[in-house]
């Protein structure tokens, strides 16, 4: 059997957020499908869509629906073939003993967030409760959550699998209020699997094989968490094991939430995706709503039998 | 009158500076060894010796720039001192002009005055007045790289003269000057010396110059340098230019030349040739 070379570009460095892919690689699932896969980590200012569009990488686990829409809007020929996190992976966090106890309390307070989509989610949440986003002091969020821990800001944005762990450690899980976008009717699925239009059109079977192996890897990772963490820790020994274990548990929640629970891993929830599309168009991030069916192609993931995709 | 020097000193004529057992070693090179000399106040002493024998090294020590090897004795006005005590106490003209390339003629000349704290404008005025005497009139605003070799030397000389100290060390100050400029500078030096009663040590290669100027001529040996001969010059002052043809002068010159040549020969491996 001829092996095909391919690469997967992640959105960030090696960590449990991507455990399934590493497990599949380690266990030889890609090899079994005839793919000689290289996993390339991501980094700040490294746009996965860009690398996939130019052909530098075959597959990409990119930022999320937001980055896919932005890329499509700018004419990058990428297609999403699966969505990992079925619900918004980040939450807004305030101190339990602080002034912010509800989304309405954000008014007149300081909130920090990432100006790459999360800010629009925040704006939408605020609008839903009748607070004008301009009444909240929304500031760019830096790498550290210390300003929040030190109560210099009232609300901080945290990914469930990453920042939340740090905040829990430093403030205490029980001293925090979490504001979940879905509770306000806003959804922003992230961690999208993408390929270029060329690959989608010319090598559909490669895409399918890749998906099959990846899904298998993820199921294995969730079935055998400590082994999955071992694999990650071997690659990045300086990571904190407890944090990685936390991350894998949270990622599991995110990947199996919503449509993920019924339609399996990497299912594409057109409704959730569509609402993100409208949100971004409304806030002018993209010039006009992107044509959904061209940007999101569920046919590859759906070609895998449902029982193979469900946990 | 200085110059007519008794060899054994009067009690009140304590040496201005007295050196005993001065040696100086650079790595493997012994530049000076057990040099002994004393200079009385107001004397004009000239120093001759073969090239590389340690004359400049001696001056560096007297200017306080170089410590001699341990075990030396150095007395300034009878007070035992280290070389560094002499810093700022002698006006020193080094063999290479060492003009600062970013200062023009006038500002190079006033360098020492500035260091002393004299206001620039005043120092410049003083120096401007001296320019014609040094044949540098009109060149005050030139930079060193625009000067001829002799002009550079004259600027360095001016800088030294402007720094008024009891002891003046001049290392081949007239080396790059033509005969007349040199004569004028010599006359000028004698003027300054007599008027201001400065003590002068003067290195030269020119035996005529050494005799013409000096109260005493020190002849140094080849490296390692020592004083080979201290020759008093008992010619009356003021000396005229034609003194060089007098029999006393010629006799002195002969003595000195013999002493120097004997030493210079040692510097060369002339055996085989």
């Amino acid at each position: 059997q001829d092996m095909v070379d391919a690469s997967l570009r992640l959105k960030w460095l090696t960590q449990a957020q991507f455990a399934g892919f590493y497990v599949a690689l380690e266990k030889g699932y890609y090899k079994d499908e005839g793919i000689n896969l290289t996993i390339n980590p991501g980094g700040p200012n490294l746009l996965t869509e860009n690398l996939v569009a130019t052909g530098a990488d075959t597959f990409g686990l990119s930022g999320g629906t937001d980055s896919v829409f932005a890329a499509r809007d700018k004419g990058l020929p990428v297609v999403c073939i699966g969505v990992a996190h079925q619900v918004t992976p980040f939450v807004f966090v305030s101190h339990k003993d602080g002034p912010v106890q509800s989304v309405a309390d954000f008014k007149g307070r300081t909130a920090t967030t990432w100006f790459t989509g999360a800010n629009h989610v925040l704006s939408a949440m605020l609008s839903k409760v009748g607070v004008s986003p301009s009444d909240v002091d929304i500031q760019p969020q830096q790498v550290s959550v210390t300003p929040f821990v030190d109560k210099q800001v009232d609300v901080v944005t945290a990914t469930r699998h990453n920042e939340l762990y740090v905040i829990n450690e430093r403030v205490g899980k029980d001293n925090l209020n979490l504001f979940v976008p879905e509770d306000s009717g806003v959804s922003f699925p992230r961690d999208t699997l993408i390929v270029s239009e060329t690959t989608a059109a010319e090598k559909p079977e490669l895409v399918e094989k890749f998906l099959r192996a990846s899904v298998k890897g993820w199921r294995e990772a969730f079935a055998n968490e400590s082994e999955a963490i071992d694999i990650i820790m071997k690659i990045s020994p300086t990571l904190d094991r407890a944090q990685q274990e936390f991350m894998l548990r949270e990622v599991r929640t995110l990947m199996t939430a919503g449509k993920g629970s019924t339609d399996g891993l990497f299912a594409i929830d057109k409704a959730a995706v569509g609402s993100a599309n409208d949100l971004l168009a409304e806030y002018g991030v993209i010039s006009k709503p992107v044509e959904l069916d061209a940007a999101f192609n569920a046919s590859f993931i759906e070609s895998i039998p449902l029982e193979e995709r469900r946990l | 009158m200085p110059g007519t020097v008794p060899e054994q000193d009067a009690a009140d004529e304590r040496p201005l500076i007295e050196l005993r057992q001065i040696s100086k070693t650079f790595g493997a090179v012994k530049a000076l060894q057990d040099l002994e000399v004393s200079i009385r106040p107001g004397e004009l002493v000239t120093v001759v010796g073969p090239s590389g024998c340690g004359k400049s090294t001696l001056f560096n020590i007297l200017a306080g720039l170089e410590e001699p090897d341990p075990g030396n004795i150095l007395r300034l006005k009878g007070v035992s001192s280290t070389a560094s005590d002499l810093l700022g106490k002698v006006s020193f003209m080094p063999q290479r002009d060492l003009l600062l390339p970013w200062r023009n003629v006038i500002d190079n000349a006033i360098l020492a005055l500035e260091v002393e704290g004299m206001p620039r404008a005043e120092a410049r005025r003083l120096a401007m007045d001296m320019l014609p005497e040094f044949g540098l009139a009109g060149f005050e605003a030139q930079y060193p790289n625009q000067l001829s070799g002799g002009m550079r030397q004259r600027v360095a000389l001016m800088r030294t003269f402007l720094f008024k100290r009891d002891l003046m060390l001049l290392d081949e100050p007239f080396g790059a000057l033509d005969a007349l400029t040199r004569t004028m500078m010599q006359r000028w030096l004698l003027d300054v010396w007599q008027k201001h009663k400065r003590t002068v040590l003067f290195i030269t290669h020119d035996v005529d110059e050494a005799i013409f100027l000096g109260d005493r001529v020190l002849v140094m040996t080849a490296r390692p340098g020592r004083i080979k001969l201290e020759q008093a010059v008992d010619l009356p002052r003021p000396r005229k230019a034609d003194i060089v043809t007098s029999p006393e002068f010629i006799a002195l010159k002969k003595t000195l030349l013999e002493a120097i040549e004997e030493e210079s020969m040692k510097s060369f491996q002339v055996a085989g040739r």
Binding site: L47, T54 | L65, L111
Partner: protein, 253 residues
């Protein structure tokens, strides 16, 4: 003399512009001729169009970044020179200060950014500090090298005039060091802008780095390039200003 300097610089500026035009034309031809997509290399014409489009926000960002770089640059230059002078005046400080400075500088400034952001916040202060750190070392190194470069015989001469360390420093070492100090200052101009930008990328309220960071994530490469052109213009102006000062004050070579 002044006339020749100005005709010299007129020629240099026109040639510089010529060089820039040449590169711009080649760039435009490449981008258009090879039909490169914007995410690989946008054509210079579309960058300029984007520049005009976003002129307002880019200008505001430029002012932000320029302020940070200038403030950091000034502090860095002074600190670097002061440390170098200190080390020259107090030789025993040398074996402590030099390795310490080397160690601090050996760490890429970006590594300090999380700490500096932590200590000085996400505002301008942290950028100023980062720029100052980066600049001060360059200046420090250049200044020490310059101060040490003096002809020992000239130092001796000044000492024979009774000059103390301070006078030697002022009248000899500093003028001797000036060419190297200014060369260091020239190199630092560029570095100060880039460090401000890079730090902004890691967290800021505004500035060109912030614009670039946002634009990358929004896949707006025309905007990225437009911001970079503005950054280059700032650096070049800055560099040119220092070169001008250099030509004024280091004339004797």
């Amino acid at each position: 003399m002044t006339a020749s300097i100005s005709s010299d610089s007129a020629r240099q500026i026109s040639r510089g512009i010529g060089g820039a035009l040449l590169v711009a034309v080649v760039w435009e031809l490449c981008a258009r001729g090879l039909d490169l997509p914007a995410y690989v290399l946008p054509a210079i014409s579309s960058i300029l169009a984007g520049l005009a489009n976003d002129a307002g926000s880019l200008l505001a960002a430029a002012r932000f970044t320029a302020t940070e770089s200038l403030a950091g640059y000034a502090i860095g230059c002074l600190a670097g020179m002061a440390a170098a002078v200190l080390v020259t005046m107090v030789p025993s400080a040398r074996s402590v200060v030099v390795p310490l400075a080397t160690a601090i500088n050996s760490v890429p400034v970006v590594a300090y950014s999380p700490l500096v952001l932590l200590w000085f916040g996400i505002g301008m202060a942290s950028k100023v500090v980062m720029v100052a750190i980066a600049v001060s070392f360059t200046i420090f190194l250049s200044t020490i090298a310059g101060l040490d470069r003096v002809d020992r015989k000239s130092v001796d001469l000044l000492r024979s005039f009774g000059a103390g360390r301070l006078a030697v420093l002022w009248r000899l070492r500093l003028p001797t060091a000036l060419p190297l100090i200014i060369a260091g200052m020239r190199v630092s101009t560029v570095r100060s802008v880039i460090v401000a930008i890079v730090t902004e990328m890691l967290g800021a309220y505004g500035g060109l780095g912030w614009v670039i960071y946002q634009a990358v994530l929004q896949v707006d490469f025309v905007k990225v390039w437009a911001a970079i052109i503005v950054a280059s213009a700032i650096s070049l102006a800055f560099f040119g200003a220092i070169s001008f000062v250099e030509r004024r004050y280091v004339f004797w070579r």
